[in-house]
Symmetry: C2
Subunit: 345 residues, 2 copies
């Protein structure tokens, strides 16, 4: 426990820059010896070798306590290649069925919302996005591609097993929080089969958590609530695609994806979990020292909490909170933000 | 042309109340004789007879120039029954492949956004949501329902034919607008088959519209843009599900679903188009005179424009704009709003 074996995937674009700051803060805060192994994965490797995630590398990743990821994706690589064969492959192979995305409005942060009007009591919720099913499974296909008769399907695959383990995790989180409130987001009035599966699962698992109050919102209505009354949410549970959408919106309303952290978590601990900022590789600003590393630093805090190092996680969160409260309007560089937070932990 | 044969479906909840105000404004503005036939469809009929949309009624609807719909859906009816067998059935049977949803910030309207910060130049865009394909086709199914081995699938069905006609309509609209800009919203890095079909269709149809500039946003990123920089959008084209989600969010940022109008349009005019507010039946406030009929009134303006009565449509829009500019914070009743707008046209 005095050592953390960490796999580090800087990835593409701003990924390596923000990961460097995350590691800086990790070193500053943790009493553990951090053994890190860097993995060269992403666009560069694909161009050089055609490889996205060799089986041997996947095997090595499994041997670590946790993975820290920067960002994956580059315009020079055909859309989907790295996303599906690298990022999603890790999430699926390491059974990251809980994609955990907290949304918290830190004091001093500017939001695109008129906060006094719509969130007088602040915003503090967490999304449990199911991570191994839904329309992300790669099911579906295409016929007569490139002809006027082209057909393409995408299949959302949902199982009781898959929904239930995410839902149970979400209820346990709600139970541990002050408000003990859980909202299912789906679209069961149109996607009836999957929607009813999710709805019944929430009802049935909910019986095990009588103290937790539950609510439901269609995904379209949920986007309205997220801008008109985000304070209503405590824990949200939803499928892989709806979770992708609402967590980007949630990040935007709580100060932007520069601050949004996430954990791809395997709660059964049969494989290491992976922590990454919600933002992408932002190739337009890569290498310019403009990227905000805060989301990665907060992802490091989630990583430490997952490894049972709650005190160190809390110290990072407090340092970030203090830094955000004092951030002026003058932009700082990636390393300046990292240095400032590292100095505070 | 001096007569409009209108089918009216008040529907559930606040539907009949807001439709009454829409008809009031229609009568006040139009020089046409409005022949209306009211259809009793929705929760009441389903409870009384088990019917959602009898074939004979569907046949009668076809005989009209246009349909005005209030809202469909009630908590006493199992989720999906009315949505699928009534609302979506009309959209699919009457081939409403363009679900047109304008988002415009009228002067004086309050938005949950900090408008000075994020939309200094206003918001004025229109979404072309494909209306007859995608995950709305009812494809998919369930296995071993109610057991721990339950499986449920939802299939998004996309054809070149279906995407192309929506995309071409969207390009034509962009071409006719000042900014001539079109954004495709999809998620092609994960939903590769459908995503690539949509992307190629936009590229290829775009060649017919060399003056129109095109952009692309993943649906998750699009929700961020909609709150951080909504002014960037001019025309958006997207699939049925993503369109459902982004138009609710778009409505929220431009003053709420009390103002959001929509048209389910059959541009080929092989069947009547249907106009309806984006909002739902809001059973919690039904019968209390609290519902804002503005969205329905603006839907009537879209109906008139579709029937070639542009001048009358414009007069409604101007009346709504003037009314909104003078609306104080004191809430008015449904009929008061209808009266005020009718008096202005
Ligand atoms: C890059 C993409 C595949 C990914 C996703 O859709 O899950 C991203 O948007 C995210 O949310 O982590
Ligand atoms: C009621 C529902 C089926 C409908 C939809 O999803 O299309 C509604 O949300 C809308 O946007 O018109």
């Amino acid at each position: 426990n005095a050592q953390i074996n960490l796999a580090v995937i800087g990835g593409d674009g701003i990924g390596p820059e923000v990961v460097a700051e995350g590691l800086k803060v990790l070193d500053a805060v943790s009493s553990a010896k951090v053994e890190r192994t860097e993995y060269d994965l992403g666009a560069r490797r694909w161009h050089a070798t055609g490889e996205t995630l060799p089986d041997s590398v996947l095997g090595e990743l499994r041997g670590h306590d946790a993975i820290l990821l920067g960002a994956i994706g580059d315009p020079t690589v055909p859309s989907g290649v790295l996303e599906r064969n690298l990022l999603l492959r890790i999430r699926f192979e390491l059974d990251h069925f809980v994609n955990l995305r907290p949304s918290k409005l830190f004091p001093g942060v500017t939001s695109p919302l008129d906060l006094e009007q719509v969130a007088p009591d602040g915003i503090d919720f967490v999304v449990v996005r199911e991570g191994t099913e839904g329309p992300y499974t790669g099911n579906g296909g295409a016929l007569r591609v490139g002809t006027p008769q082209e057909l393409a399907t995408e299949v959302s695959v949902n199982s009781r097993f898959g929904a239930e383990r995410a839902v149970r995790d979400a209820f346990a989180r709600a139970q541990a929080r002050e408000r003990k409130h859980l909202t299912l987001i789906h679209k069961h009035n149109v996607l009836s089969h999957a929607g009813h599966l999710w709805r019944r699962t929430v009802e049935e698992v909910g019986a095990e958590f009588p103290e937790v109050e539950t609510a439901y919102a269609h995904v379209d209505a949920a986007t309205i609530y997220l801008v008109q009354d985000p304070g209503r949410f405590d824990v949200i549970v939803t499928d892989n695609l709806f979770g992708d959408i609402v967590t980007d919106l949630a990040a935007a309303v709580t100060g932007g994806i520069g601050l949004a952290a996430s954990g791809n978590i395997n709660p059964d601990r049969t494989a290491p979990s992976m922590f990454e900022p919600v933002h992408g590789s932002a190739p337009d600003i890569a290498g310019q020292g403009k990227a905000d590393p805060t989301a990665t630093i907060l992802s490091v805090a989630m990583l430490l909490a997952h490894l049972g190092r709650d005190d160190e996680a809390r110290r990072i969160e407090e340092a970030v909170s203090a830094d955000l409260a004092e951030r002026g309007r003058t932009p700082r560089s990636t390393t300046e933000v990292g240095d400032a937070i590292a100095a505070r932990v």
